[in-house]
């Protein structure tokens, strides 16, 4: 999932300071699952904004709503259309993709991010999320025992460990295991240590922003079929 966390309140309050009616728009996708932008967080943030504005003597109205998936236009449009006229600004609690989807669909509408989007990762335990994938577009996990060196090695090395690890930990932090030592152990367990001798090609970096296209899925205009 995409993992995000709420921005510091100070930043959110500054962004929204000049608005009287705020639509706090959650997302039912990743940010619900990572506890940053679901219905509960929408309520919490709305309450905090109202409390802050109340004590400043500048009361504010909040509207709370949720899109099923804020990165899906069809999920966003009806929610915002329905609430039309009830808000001056959208405070999105989706990832960066959700915020931009809203901004693209409603180009005349101010849309602010309430979250910082951090990474693609997993829930390591309840309340702890860990970065696992950098979305490099060129996956090599089959050769690395299911551990991504591009993401989990601080230097993203492809040819094995640098000399910087000490006691199994990365040179950048004692809390970070050396990904290549983890890969070593994983491959050893799978009896695939020989993989470490391979010399992978230098990664070809994609041009950003990248696109993925499935022609078979695209809605082709009837005239083109003829």
């Amino acid at each position: 999932m995409i993992v995000a966390e709420r921005k510091p309140m100070e930043e959110i309050l500054a962004m929204t300071a000049d608005f009287q009616r705020i639509l706090v728009l959650g997302c039912g996708g990743c940010t619900t699952v990572c506890f940053s932008g679901g219905a509960r967080e929408v309520e919490t943030l709305s309450t905090l904004i109202r409390m802050d504005r109340k004590q400043r003597g500048k009361p504010v109205g909040t509207v709370e709503a949720l899109t099923e998936l804020q990165c899906e236009p069809h999920s966003v449009t009806p929610v915002l259309e329905k609430l039309k006229g009830q808000y001056d600004v959208v405070l999105s609690m989706a990832c960066g993709a959700g915020v931009q989807t809203v901004a693209k669909l409603f180009p005349d509408q101010r849309v602010f991010p309430a979250l910082n989007t951090n990474f693609t990762g997993m829930a390591e335990e309840h309340g702890v999320w860990k970065e696992l994938c950098l979305a490099c577009g060129d996956c090599i996990l089959d050769r690395t025992g299911g551990i991504c060196p591009v993401t989990r090695c601080a230097k993203g090395l492809l040819n094995g460990a640098c000399g910087g690890a000490s006691e199994g930990k990365c040179e950048v932090s004692k809390d970070l295991p050396c990904a290549w030592q983890e890969i070593y152990h994983a491959l050893k367990r799978l009896n695939l240590l020989s993989y470490l001798k391979e010399r992978p090609k230098v990664k070809a970096w994609p041009i950003h922003p990248s696109r993925v296209v499935r022609e078979d899925l695209r809605q082709v205009a009837a005239t083109e079929v003829d």
Binding site: N159, G163, A165, V172, R199, V202
Partner: protein, 291 residues
């Protein structure tokens, strides 16, 4: 004799290392180099070591060539993508630099600009590949060069890895570096000759030259600091006690280095002495061991 010739001759090779400073003042470091000029086969120039922003290696290497010293141009992958790396290598060649030491490099977070974007588009192995390509007259994209270099590529290895996984990974990577064209290795600082002997046993038969790393131990504090903070460097307690007990620390450090060089003469193909400003101590050490 150039480093290449020295290595090919089969003699016991001696290299040293200098680090450019922060700023444009180069005088005293050139003086340090001058002290050892006639005693070593080559001098490495570090590339923003510990990720601290400094004067670059290439310019300094160029100064050394003008002093008739054969420099080893250290190149890390930390802060240049493949365009910059290839371009710098070509530039180095035309400035008279003939030896390159390919390193991955420290992460920027360890240095004085911790928020710098780490690049690491290549790593030490793919950088060696890249040097090989340039030597063969093409760039990484396969385009032909008009005039090509003929570098002597080298690499590093850390014989002091602290666990089996780390050690296996070091050796596998060393093999990959040889495949990728590394002709010589300089090692991380060694203090424990027994451990080094074991390491050399494991890499016996690899077609390359190994120069054992020696870091002059300047103080007890430095020993403790390295034990705690420098991956793969381990100063055994008896050495620390020896230094602690001695009245003339500098002499004790020289004595230790002499023992290490003597020990390495039977184990590897040369030594790489990192004097860290004590370049004046290198000649007495070499005198003592007869090099």
């Amino acid at each position: 004799m150039s480093l290449r010739q020295a290595l090919e001759s089969g003699k016991f090779v001696v290299t040293a290392e200098v680090a450019p400073g922060k700023g444009t003042d180069v005088e005293h470091i050139l003086k340090d180099a001058d002290i050892i000029k006639d005693r070593v086969d080559a001098i490495n120039v570090t590339d923003l070591q510990s990720s601290v922003m400094r004067l670059g290696s290439m310019a300094f290497c160029h100064f050394l060539t003008e002093m008739d010293i054969d420099p080893v141009f250290q190149v890390t992958c930390r802060d240049r993508n493949r365009l910059a790396l290839q371009s710098d290598l070509l530039s180095a060649w035309v400035l008279g630099i003939r030896n390159v030491l390919a390193l991955t490099g420290d992460h920027p977070v360890l240095g004085d600009h911790p928020e710098a974007k780490p690049v690491f588009e290549l790593d030490s192995v793919s950088l060696l590949d890249c040097i090989g390509k340039l030597n063969s007259g093409v760039d990484m994209a396969g385009n032909e060069l008009k005039g090509s270099p003929d570098f002597l590529p080298g690499a590093v290895v850390n014989p002091g890895a602290d666990n089996e996984a780390a050690m296996d990974l070091q050796i596998m990577k060393m093999e990959k570096k040889i495949e990728a064209g590394a002709r010589f290795f300089q090692t991380q600082g060694v203090y424990d000759l027994d451990a080094f002997e074991k390491f050399m046993k494991r890499v016996e038969g690899l077609d390359t030259k190994v120069l054992g790393g020696i870091i002059l131990l300047k103080s007890v504090g430095m020993a403790r600091y390295m034990n705690k903070n420098v991956a793969g460097v381990f100063v055994p307690e008896p050495l620390i006690q020896e230094l602690k007990a001695s009245e003339d620390k500098a002499q004790a450090s020289v004595n230790m280095a002499v023992r290490l060089v003597k020990g390495m003469k039977d184990l590897c193909d040369g030594v790489h002495i990192m004097a860290l400003g004590w370049e004046s101590k290198i000649p007495p050490i070499l005198d003592e061991v007869g090099l």
